[in-house]
């Protein structure tokens, strides 16, 4: 009897994990190098090792499954130092994202701490900012489309579309690597989102050696017209790890063995 139970539960676990695995498909990203907008001195390329990345951002349904398994991350149990009051505030209740949220819309209003934990519980991790930016510079056909006007326009047009966070994942374009929604859906956490120190006073930074952002950014930036990216760096600079906002979600990455 006990044996049967074990067999059944193992079987169930296998089904569940395979389902989960299906839901968060990953693709391999090849090793390479790129020159980021900020964060390198002398505009030297940054090496990015091969890794794998989630095809889609984490969804409401996936996140609910996680919280059910780990109720210490539910709204009422959440400690203030790890996430602010607005944590999951768009959900109807503790364990229900409600009718107003699609099951396959990206989870938002999550803090960096929780996003990090989520990925760890899947045996993954948050992507680094370099990994994220490396994948995000691809359009449908090219690994690096940053100099393409339409590509930048696409990114920028998102800034003018309100409430894209209600949209389901996977409806934007599939990029060169097979990854969706790097642009056009929500912002995403990265493991080292605050590694580029931005003072918040965007213009004074031109005479520092930190290679920071903003008004002076147009002088320092490795790509003068890539102002789409300024927005991301500016946004990240305003975040703290416990912050949760309606336009900010995440996805996971993993080292390749």
């Amino acid at each position: 009897m006990l044996q049967l139970k074990i067999i059944i539960s193992t079987f169930l676990v296998m089904i569940v994990t395979s389902l989960l695995a299906q839901e968060s498909q990953m693709v391999a990203i090849k090793r390479g190098a790129y020159v980021p907008l900020y964060g390198t001195k002398d505009k030297k390329p940054v090496e990015v090792d091969a890794f794998s990345m989630d095809v889609y951002p984490v969804t409401n349904a996936q996140f609910l499954a996680f919280i059910k398994k780990r109720p210490e991350f539910s709204r009422s149990k959440m400690k203030g130092i790890f996430a602010e009051k607005s944590y999951l505030s768009h959900w109807e209740s503790e364990f229900n994202y409600g009718k107003n949220n699609l099951s396959n819309a990206p989870i938002t209003n999550v803090s960096w701490f929780v996003a990090k934990k989520y990925c760890e519980c899947q045996g993954k991790r948050l992507p680094t900012m370099d990994e994220w930016e490396y994948v995000a510079m691809a359009d449908e056909k090219r690994a690096d489309a940053r100099s393409k006007e339409e590509f930048n326009n696409y990114i920028l047009s998102w800034y003018e579309k309100p409430k894209t966070f209600v949209n389901p994942v996977g409806k934007t374009f599939k990029n060169y690597w097979g990854v969706y929604d790097m642009h056009g859906l929500v912002w995403e956490w990265t493991s080292d989102f605050n590694s580029i120190f931005l003072s918040g006073e965007s213009r004074k930074d031109k005479d520092t050696d930190k290679n920071l952002f903003c008004g002076s950014g147009s002088v320092n930036a490795s790509d003068l017209m890539n102002y789409a990216a300024f927005m991301r760096y500016g946004f990240r600079a305003s975040l703290k790890a416990r912050f949760t906002t309606r336009n900010l979600g995440f996805r996971c990455a993993k080292d390749l063995k």
Partner: protein, 491 residues
């Protein structure tokens, strides 16, 4: 042991000491008098209050004789879609939900506690740089705030004047181009002199992917912004924000004060009010007052306070006198003045005549008498071609190249219900002019079209051209029809 000094040496030391002391005092006095800011920082505050914030064209109540206080300013950043011109939408980023942002009114010595809130549904981080702040980034360094969050910082207003505030987050130009600017007034002790009317006007240039007038939601165009080639130059965030029923008002005999700012991001404004002379201009919003000014320059990221008394009734037109911006890009507003006329100051037209240098005498217009026509257009295509030439010389200035008119000022001829409904009325308008309110395509216009001194043939050709163009109903007008109309009305 050095216990003994010569007397002379002691005196010398004493003298040097005195000199040093007096120099020090002198230097201190110099420093103390350097600017009023040096004294204003010692102004003590009494109590605390929340600042009244207003959307343009309104301004909060004057500070009057109130003491300096701790002033709480609650400013919310909202990203929102709104109308830039008729049928043209734009995604604005705003301070307080309006462009320009909420007007902040303080007095010198106030200790402002500034709360900058970024609405949770916003996509971007923002901050604020107030030119009235003495400190790093004008506050920008302390106020970068993520969506759904709030930042608080404090400053003391040291220098009286009218100041611009704006967002300074990357890329700064884009945040300003999308509408993130406004004015903060720091009144001197005791306040500005009282006037009857005060209004808030701010110019800005907008850069859209489409051309001026292209319909639908228009995205920001960085390329045009870098080239400084705006599609729209407007007052208070949109074309027609101060026109028609939204015009600002005053009564004859009242004094008017305009707080005029320029958010830019690029253009400098040549601010002018057609039909009025500024009695006082507080140049660049500072202490210096100039009198009897026709046009005042307002730098991008700067402001001015203009004051005048309105003496006669009429509609004063507010423009950027870089005049194509006013009539073709939107930088046009209205101040309607009501009250009794004063014919000594302005008479209106007293005589209308024709000026003939050879003839010497001024005659009345030869209405009803047709001048010989040199070239007669016979076929419809000939008529249209001839009419097009006249249109390009005579009608184009107001009704514009594609007959689109100028919103709220000159009615359109393109797809015009007014025009298509009644061709006799159209002929009469050209023959005799048209004054007063008309409704064209659902919009009201109240302006003056003068009588056009054209031949029957020219009027027939021009109207035929207009009826044949821009989606109108292709009515053909002949010289005989015009003649009949002319005779009917000139008995």
């Amino acid at each position: 042991m050095k216990t003994t000094f010569k007397n002379g040496k002691q005196i010398k030391i004493a003298l040097i000491g005195c000199l040093a002391l007096s120099l020090g005092l002198f230097a201190f006095k110099q420093l103390a008098d350097f600017s009023s800011a040096d004294r204003n920082k010692y102004i003590e505050v009494e109590g605390q209050m929340e600042a009244e914030l207003t959307a343009p064209p309104l301004v909060p109540k004057p500070i009057g004789s109130r003491d300096a206080t701790k002033l709480i300013v609650n400013m919310e950043v909202k990203e929102m879609e709104s109308e830039l011109a008729d049928g043209v939408k734009y995604t604005y980023w705003t301070f307080g939900g309006s462009v320009p942002g909420s007007f902040i009114r303080t007095r010198v010595g106030d200790e402002v506690e500034f709360h900058l809130r970024n609405h949770p549904d916003n996509k971007l981080s923002h901050n604020i740089d107030l030119h009235a702040v003495t400190g790093q980034g004008g506050g920008a360094a302390s106020s970068l705030v993520a969506p759904g969050h709030e930042k608080v910082f404090n400053f003391k207003t040291l220098n009286p004047g009218l100041y611009v505030y704006h967002c300074a987050t990357a890329p700064v130009g884009m945040h300003i181009a999308n509408g993130m600017y406004g004015l903060i007034l720091v009144e001197p002790e005791g306040g500005l002199p009282a006037v009857d009317k005060e209004y808030y006007i701010m110019q800005g240039d907008f850069y859209t992917k489409g051309k001026n007038g292209d319909q639908g939601l228009q995205a920001f165009d960085m390329d045009k912004a870098v080239k400084e080639q705006p599609d729209y130059v407007v007052f208070n965030g949109k074309t027609g924000s101060l026109v028609g029923s939204k015009a600002i008002t005053a009564k004859v005999g009242e004094t008017v004060r305009l707080f005029v700012g320029n958010g830019g991001p690029n253009l400098v404004s040549s601010f002018h009010v057609i039909g009025e002379i500024f009695d006082n201009v507080r140049i660049e919003g500072g202490d210096m007052v100039n009198h009897n000014v026709q046009t005042t320059l307002i730098p991008s990221g700067g402001a001015a306070i203009v004051e005048f008394k309105v003496d006669v009734p009429g509609t004063l037109i507010l423009v950027d006198h870089s005049i194509f911006r006013a009539f073709n890009k939107g930088a046009l507003g209205m101040l309607k003045v009501e009250g009794p006329e004063d014919k000594t100051i302005y008479s209106g037209t007293t005589q209308e005549g024709i000026y003939l240098p050879e003839g010497g005498a001024i005659q009345t217009m030869p209405k009803g008498k047709e001048v010989a026509v040199s070239k007669v257009a016979k076929t419809i295509p000939q008529q249209i071609q001839a009419g097009k030439d006249v249109f390009g010389k005579v009608c184009f200035a107001c009704h514009q190249s594609e007959g689109q008119g100028i919103p709220t000022v000159f009615p359109p001829l393109a797809k015009s219900d007014y025009l298509n409904a009644d061709s006799k009325r159209a002929m009469n308008a050209v023959l005799h002019g048209l004054t007063g309110e008309v409704t064209v395509n659902g919009k009201k216009y109240n302006n003056v079209m003068t009588s056009q001194n054209l031949t029957d043939e020219e009027i027939a050709n021009t109207l035929t051209f207009v009826y044949d163009s821009w989606g109108n109903n292709k009515t053909r007008i002949t010289a005989a029809m015009v003649k009949a109309q002319r005779n009917q009305n000139s008995h």
